[in-house]
């Protein structure tokens, strides 16, 4: 009797374990079973973007495109997307992720793709606006009420200020930030612009306490309480403010750079049957409809009149573009590599 009961109990237990396992397995397999797959999988655009694009593409621009496409062709299309630091995305594409389109934070990353022979050199310049989809200036985000009295990039060099900065190795935003800092110094009207740019950059970097892999990750660190100031895209701050989530103040420097975000089409990943869809989406990004959505999410449109729709855009006395510094190739060599990497980083450690 006793033995029988014990055997029975053991069998029951084994059955319960097997049942639990079965439930877990069926939950996992379900989307791949024939029942769930009856509907033919829709065509999808594979879109890689730099970190701050997640919301505007997934919740704003793509749904609008999806609706328009459906109205016209009755086909429901999907987007498969991945967002990370611009440099990370670039390296992933070089290593072979199946991206159709990539929206990179800076043209330099597009050049990197061309150097790796992933795309023909300069092919993105065939898009409208030379491939620049939208812009946003670099600004300083500080704690509410600006307790440290930060009013310009130069103030970030004061002793005791802790700056959160993305990492230029993987973040396009960080490269922009370096150009913004250097440019602000160089354009301050000092007698030796190069010296002034170098000094401002050094001041900031002496106070960098955290380097994050992407602009978005840097923002998360700042939100979690690290640092007194964060250098980032205006869009980040505006988007948070529009949702009432911004628990910080925005400081507009006198002089700063407007980042320009470059769209790249990766031909080798696009099957012939998907080309119409991919091209329709890339054209859509430059239409007024899409540009208005970008403006609503805090990006500055390449079509200037549309920018009036967002009253949150702050005034910058002396905005400049990368072209004013001779383009990215030159800026990378002369500012990021030779000034920041070789001089400032070493001097900042002392």
């Amino acid at each position: 009797m006793l033995i029988q009961r014990r055997v029975l109990r053991r069998r029951l237990r084994a059955a319960a374990f097997a049942a639990a396992l079965f439930v877990l397995l069926s939950y996992a397999v379900w989307p791949w079973t024939p029942m769930a797959r009856l509907a033919r999988p829709p065509r999808a655009i594979v879109f890689y973007g730099f970190s701050i694009l997640g919301e505007v593409i997934n919740h704003g621009v793509f749904p609008a495109f999806q609706k328009g496409w459906r109205d016209r062709t009755r086909e429901k299309v999907e987007i498969v997307s991945s967002f990370a630091g611009s440099g990370t995305v670039t390296n992933q594409i070089i290593l072979g992720v199946p991206a159709h389109l990539a929206l990179l934070s800076l043209e330099l990353d597009a050049d990197k793709l061309a150097d790796a022979r992933v795309v023909p050199a300069g092919s993105w310049r065939r898009f409208p606006f030379q491939g620049v989809v939208n812009r946003t200036p670099f600004i300083i985000v500080v704690r509410p009420g600006n307790p440290k009295g930060i009013h310009d990039f130069a103030d970030l060099g004061k002793p005791g200020i802790r700056v959160v900065h993305p990492d230029p190795l993987t973040s396009g935003g960080a490269n922009w930030a370096i150009v913004a800092e250097y440019g602000a110094g160089a354009r301050s009207g000092a007698p030796d612009p190069r010296r002034a740019g170098h000094d401002l950059l050094l001041g900031v970097w002496k106070n960098v306490v955290a380097q994050a892999a992407s602009a978005r990750a840097a923002r998360t660190q700042f939100e979690n309480g690290f640092g007194d100031a964060l250098i980032t895209y205006e869009q980040e701050a505006l988007y948070d403010r529009s949702r009432g989530k911004l628990k910080a103040d925005v400081v507009y420097p006198r002089s700063t750079v407007l980042s320009e975000h470059t769209l790249v089409r990766i031909d080798r990943n696009i099957a012939r049957r998907d080309a119409d869809l991919v091209d329709a989406f890339s054209r859509f990004l430059f239409t007024d409809e899409a540009q208005r959505i970008f403006v609503r999410y805090g990006f500055r449109s390449v079509t200037d009149p549309l920018n009036e729709a967002n009253p949150g855009f702050g005034r910058i006395e002396d905005p400049f573009r990368i072209a004013d510094l001779g383009g990215w190739k030159r800026a990378k060599k002369e500012i990021v590599d030779s000034v920041w990497k070789r001089q400032v980083l070493a001097e900042a450690k002392k």
Partner: protein
């Protein structure tokens, strides 16, 4: 008398020290996951779990864990059998090599897989003309997980095989059993405990694998994003509620697995 009370006092002290050390080290972080996951109320928690990306990530992770466990159960047992029952030149070196994955940082595993199978990798280059590309696909994730979890099955099964008296096997052979029959009827029943332990360990590790996966998956939502990658991406994007909801589910699953593991281990011990 004094001896006894001193004895009691001396056991209360180390126990409380242990708890005090473990509290911030292990217990509080674990609790924090659940506290933060439920911060927005059960409704928000439920919504976070139900988002298509989260659902996909969970399912994909489970699927990969099942597949990894199945493959490594066979492969690991076979390896253990060969290493335990056969003597051949280089068997020791091989024994070390198959255990290496535990020692190698998982990120390095990911990089090396990319450099081997990626489109610009040694073997990957040859696959490209064939239209094959294992990296940044679910199969690439599976490869990484197989690699990383390989030693667990082996580690659980081999000691049992080593300990097993060869007389049973020899007896089986003398009455004419083939090698396969002997394995099935003599060795396998003895291995049951080791197999279950190894499978649970493999499954749990695969479910939580991050370092190698982040390198080889391409991190595509709804395609190759596993649950840990989803958590990381959400956290980086500042969406801590979503990240924590999935983290809580993963933690719960792991707890369950370890609960089974402990129950099982203690029962085996009692039986022995």
């Amino acid at each position: 008398m004094t001896g006894r009370s001193a004895g009691r006092g001396s056991s209360a002290l180390p126990v409380s020290v242990l708890v005090l050390v473990l509290l911030p080290l292990l217990l509080m972080p674990l609790a924090a996951v659940f506290v933060f996951a439920l911060k927005g109320g059960p409704g928000a928690f439920w919504d976070a779990i139900r988002s298509p990306e989260a659902q996909f990530a969970l399912r994909f992770s489970l699927l990969v864990a099942f597949a990894t466990t199945a493959v490594n159960a066979v492969l690991g047992t076979f390896t253990a059998y060969v290493l335990s029952k056969h003597r051949f030149p280089g068997d020791r070196a091989l024994g070390v090599v198959v255990n290496l994955p535990v020692a190698i940082p998982t990120v390095v595993v990911g990089t090396s897989l990319l450099l081997l199978w990626g489109p610009i990798g040694l073997l990957g280059k040859m696959l490209v003309p064939l239209g094959l590309q294992p990296m940044f696909r679910p199969f690439g994730v599976l490869l990484a997980h197989l690699f990383v979890t390989f030693p667990y099955m082996l580690g659980a099964v081999k000691p049992v095989l080593d300990e097993l008296e060869t007389t049973y096997e020899e007896a089986a052979y003398t009455i004419g059993a083939t090698r396969w029959t002997t394995f099935r009827l003599v060795l396998l029943p003895a291995l049951r405990g080791g197999l279950i332990t190894g499978a649970l360990l493999t499954f749990a590790h695969s479910l939580g694998e991050f370092g190698a996966t982040v390198m080889v998956s391409g991190n595509l939502r709804l395609k190759t994003q596993t649950a840990p990658l989803y958590i990381f991406a959400q956290f980086e994007a500042g969406d801590i509620a979503h990240a924590n909801a999935i983290a809580a589910v993963l933690a719960l699953l792991s707890f369950t697995i370890f609960f089974f593991l402990f129950r099982f281990a203690s029962r085996e011990q009692k039986a022995a």
